[in-house]
Symmetry: C5
Subunit: 339 residues, 5 copies
């Protein structure tokens, strides 16, 4: 496929796009379904175009053409294999990040690609899923709560990114819960095969999570340090705040990796411990009974001339000796703490 | 939750805030409970507001408003999941670090979040716990000992951070003690299960400690290198001193990690050694008695025509052969150093 | 061999060179087999010389002489052990990268060296294999599709590199497929020896792939950041796009390495689990029958005076006791979940 | 303890300080016991104050006061837990490094803290131990050998540091000797427990050594690159020379770590090999004799009607079959290379 | 030993120095044994002094004095434990690197130290061994082949370094051959002890090789980036070429390390597989015959009242049951793929 064609590459089912246009400044707020730039006075207030579902490239092309977005950025919107990144274009900043959910039934991180184009006085948000990850921000805008209406497009972008980053904490919590369960299961059931599979799956999930957060840290760092005029100096602090969150999440992931490695070591120690116990039992039983059986075997021989066989108490003496041997062995194993 | 709301996110029980205001210069020292900025002449001497317990956001908001502290900094004060960091604001430097204690009964690092806001002529200290980690500094101020009264707010901040960092050495010592105990236990009891659990827990604690110190090193480095005018060049040396301490602590932690890895390897070697010993005993016993039992079995067969059975000394000859076989085997195992 | 001699060092069979010259601008496109610089108006439009098969150094020397390419660059074209790199010369940029294919029958990455020399208004492409990896770009040029004809030599270079990088995704997909098969085979056949060999081979392939991508990332980064005037600022974005792709591929490779490590750990756990099961069976059988055999041995002794032997129900009582012992043992092993 | 108190924190026994003052230029050399700045003409020649034993803070305070050394530097002199470092003060450079000895009887690195304060025309050396690590330099000064008397205080500092660094090579050599012994012991005694303990201890020593050299490299690098006027440009080369030595030592340590890891892997392979051999013997013996014993057991049954028992050669035929079985088994194990 | 004494520290046997002086420019070439600066017109053409064998410090001191080489450089020439490095002096560049050979009989990298001092119009080469590693360059000079005579002292230095670096490829090839042999041996003989020793030795060699190449990369990078006027800008490219080679070699070494790690993992899997097979045989034999022996033991008891013994077909029925049990067990093990 030649560079430059706009085709959705993800695996979501085809769905009609769900587009909304918002315009606000400190005093007013207007909202219209569909792509409606006509409600947005130029060079004044902030416009937010919210596009959900990427299977239909039409509205994306239309919006891109209206705002003059570079074709490479539009291709990245539709190519859902993107790592998190910030690309600076002449007329705006393009930011991609994944929205993550942890599905405990299939033990998999599910990813939705969300991207933002921050231009002068406007933000365009592209969400892969039709459900709205950004509804909290929209609600705050509608209700005029917080700082949101008093600030510009850069603060809006921060709020949108922050809403996505908040979801990562939920993923962290769910992984935490699984790890706790794993640990308890290990103490209860030892090295059960299902624990092994769970460890395997959790390692895959945590590694996957980490591989997605590492480029995000880089991308947010670049947002915080960008020299673009689209981010006001006073609002730069908010991006530093996002950066702190991502760093915190990466710390927690590293911690979880350590814990998983620890759990795996425990699992192996448990398995080797069980093997030890099994072998110990075998050895105790064999060591006690094999010599005794030998003695019995000796007196089961059919030699004509075996004087002991014909003594009156021979049998009982041999039984007694066997009994003493057994007691001695048991004592020996007890001092060795094997039984 | 929208960015901008001031809510305590930790797990301490609700408690009334304990606020004190101090003011001093080279000659005078005054102190008043509660937030009392009226005792602090402007642009002269140094003011320290000490706020303990964060469950009530009231005094924090009040102090923040009085000194014009940025809302993001106030949010960070109350969000107790912060990594150590230095944030520079227009009117001050915001520094967060954890105060750590090691609780050997639950084998856990317990963390209290402490943060400082260093402004022009003033420092605000926020402690999560009601007990006073910073009492040593307060006492030195009251008694006018050392350099403290002769220097400004930057030196006070250094003293406060230093007081928290001093506690880390106590954590180090307690971990050291546990490691020593672990090592001795290993030599005494071998691969006992409780050793394994202790290794597991100590690894978790040391990893946790390290994950908390790494961002602290970065934060202190930034304090030492800050270009803010709030830190006098002559006092910069003191922050370098703190940096040295944190680097020392990280070195010790890395050393402890190496020791723990070493102990774990010993533990596994011990377990595999025991398995070896168990198998060796089993093999010695089996190798000696299984052939002997076979010989006895042969002479226990009921064939009519077994000439040996009817010789006069057959029984004793067989017994003698068995005895020699046993002696030979034992000698063989002795040369192999198995017994 | 002295530096400065032009000899092909690869292992391809000698083949005649296949050279084509293309010239185009926005309106015209001409094409001629062989090296034909006469069709290329100077300082106008873009010339592309495409040289396939490197066993004959003749056309390479001829082209190099015509365009004044530095001898070191020509040597690198023919030395097929190059890592990916960008070398800046006074009159042009020299870029090498491998074209990779994964051959699942021999479990090996097969590499063809491709290099480009980007000069003022011209690009020379050197391909080691006679088949044409770059045919897609040539076709787009011929058909005048996309941006290609409207842009200069730098964009052409980007398109050519991008065509090679696209092949890496196919390698990724094939490795992915092998990993999936490995995982399924592990769940079906356990620790079969063929799985071990496959893990071994896949690790070699993935490591090899990674060792080739690491220098490529560096090389593309330098292309994107080059201060050479041969890359227009507006086209720099396209090289950033290639960089994103390479970073994505490296991320995927790292992920695959993690998955392979995980699979290997599973494989070992599987093997140790089987050993455990084997030992368990041995122990169960031995522990049940060795004591019973001992009892039988006792009553097989030939003492004259063994009163039990002469009781009426002695045999049945002993059989009953043996049966109860066996039941007891089986119950014990069942509570231990060994059977 | 408040910052600013001068107390020795090491574990050496209290001993009187041993102080000497030296003064020299190209032509003259004078020496006096005790702190005697009166023998040192100002702004001329070089003064060296050599202080041994730190348990008595008196002379340190006195010297510090005379030369105006910053209190933080004096505290660092007495706090013997310092990592190697270079601190730049307004009037001088403060350098700390450990003097190391390897004690093979307790398998421990023993560390003595040595620090230098290089000021304008003077050097103060602080040694923790009463014995004189720096006697070689003092001797060269007294005898006027080499470049020492012709150069200034910076060259003297270099010579002193170099004398300490020379000791590290002796530690390296002693570790090398231990590793050689370990390797030979491994080939001679296999996985003896004392080898395991030795590996454990050597890993601790080598890790400890490495943790001490890493900050030293950093400190010497900073000395070599310092912009302080106290180091003449022409003498900078000498500090680069020390840096080379430290880098060499770190290389050797890394090599020793690799060798130790290798030895540990060998040790484990050896242990697992022994287990294999033990199991093999057990299996050979059991596999040969258990079936034979079964055959003997069959003919030991007491059925009335067992025709074989009453044939003339039955016994010898069974013995022959047993013998052939045994030979066959032995042959089988021999082809498998088990015996 | 005081810094500043010129003593050879290597382990080569004392041998007379072999010194040659060459002088050339584009048109002329003259050559004289011994140190003969009188043949070299000043400020014109290029002089090369070639010194072989370092046991006699005489010629080195003489040459050093003539060209005014810094004593530290001369000491480094004679101290054969140097890591590769570039040191810049006022009047020249001093470069050290090891010439490596792999000796397969003792499985060791053998190192000869070679150093160069590049001054204005002259190069001095110091070789530790009496045999001439640089003869290829000398021959090219004598025959006036290639670019060598047309270029200055910097290009000569490049050619000399390149000649040494070429030898590394031979080491790489020999290691490659050993690894191939190792792999094949593993497939043929499994976990034979000699394979283990070979793995151990190859790891030591590859690690050693890597530890020597890492500083070389750094040194060559500094040569390529030096701001010294002794390296012409046009010739800088050649040092970049050497850098490419060293990077390639390091890549290959990393690859070989991965392969060795892989082989070691295979080796361990092989050993654990063999243990599994051994245990499986033991278990199969034991599980089949121990119960059968028990049955035989039961009917070997001497109770008076054992009705089965007196039935006509009792013996054959028991034999039949034993046979069926054995068949059943064998079938069970076959379905489990144990036999």
């Amino acid at each position: 496929m030649a560079p430059g064609t706009l085709v959705y590459t993800g695996n979501r089912q085809s769905a009609p796009s769900n587009v909304h246009t918002f315009w606000y400044d400190d005093h007013t707020f207007s909202e219209k379904p569909g792509f409606a730039p006509e409600i947005c006075p130029l060079h004044q207030g902030t416009t937010w175009v919210d596009i959900r579902s990427l299977t239909d490239a039409g509205p994306i092309e239309q919006t891109g053409a209206y705002f003059g977005i570079h074709p490479l950025a539009l291709e990245d919107v539709l190519d859902t294999t993107q790592r998190a990144k910030l690309d600076e274009y002449e007329n705006g900043l393009f930011f991609v990040l994944p929205n993550l959910k942890f599905d405990p039934t299939v033990m998999e991180l599910q990813s939705e690609q969300i991207s933002f184009f921050l231009g002068k006085n406007y933000v365009i948000a592209f969400q892969e899923d039709p459900d709205d990850t950004l509804h909290a921000v929209r609600k705050r805008l509608q209700e005029g709560l917080g700082r949101l209406r008093k600030k510009g497009a850069d603060y809006l972008t921060y709020s949108l990114i922050d809403a996505v980053v908040d979801n990562y904490y939920m993923v962290l919590d769910e992984i935490e819960a699984q790890l706790l369960e794993l640990e308890q299961g290990l103490y209860q059931h030892g090295d059960a095969p299902q624990s092994k599979a769970l460890i395997f799956n959790m390692k895959r999930v945590v590694n996957d999570f980490r591989h997605r957060m590492l480029p995000l840290r880089e991308a947010v760092t670049r947002f915080y340090r960008t020299e673009s005029e689209l981010v006001e100096d006073a609002n730069r602090l908010y991006f530093r705040d996002v950066l702190d969150h991502v760093a915190q999440i990466l710390d927690s992931i590293d911690n979880q990796r350590d814990i998983l490695a620890n759990i795996e070591a425990l699992f192996q120690a448990e398995a080797s411990n069980r093997l030890n116990n099994v072998m110990r039992l075998l050895t105790v039983i064999s060591t006690i009974f094999i010599p005794l059986s030998f003695v019995a075997g000796v007196y089961g021989m059919n030699f004509d001339n075996m004087p002991e066989l014909h003594t009156k108490h021979g049998y009982f003496i041999v039984l007694g000796i066997m009994f003493l041997l057994m007691i001695g062995m048991l004592g020996y194993f007890r001092t060795k703490k094997w039984i």
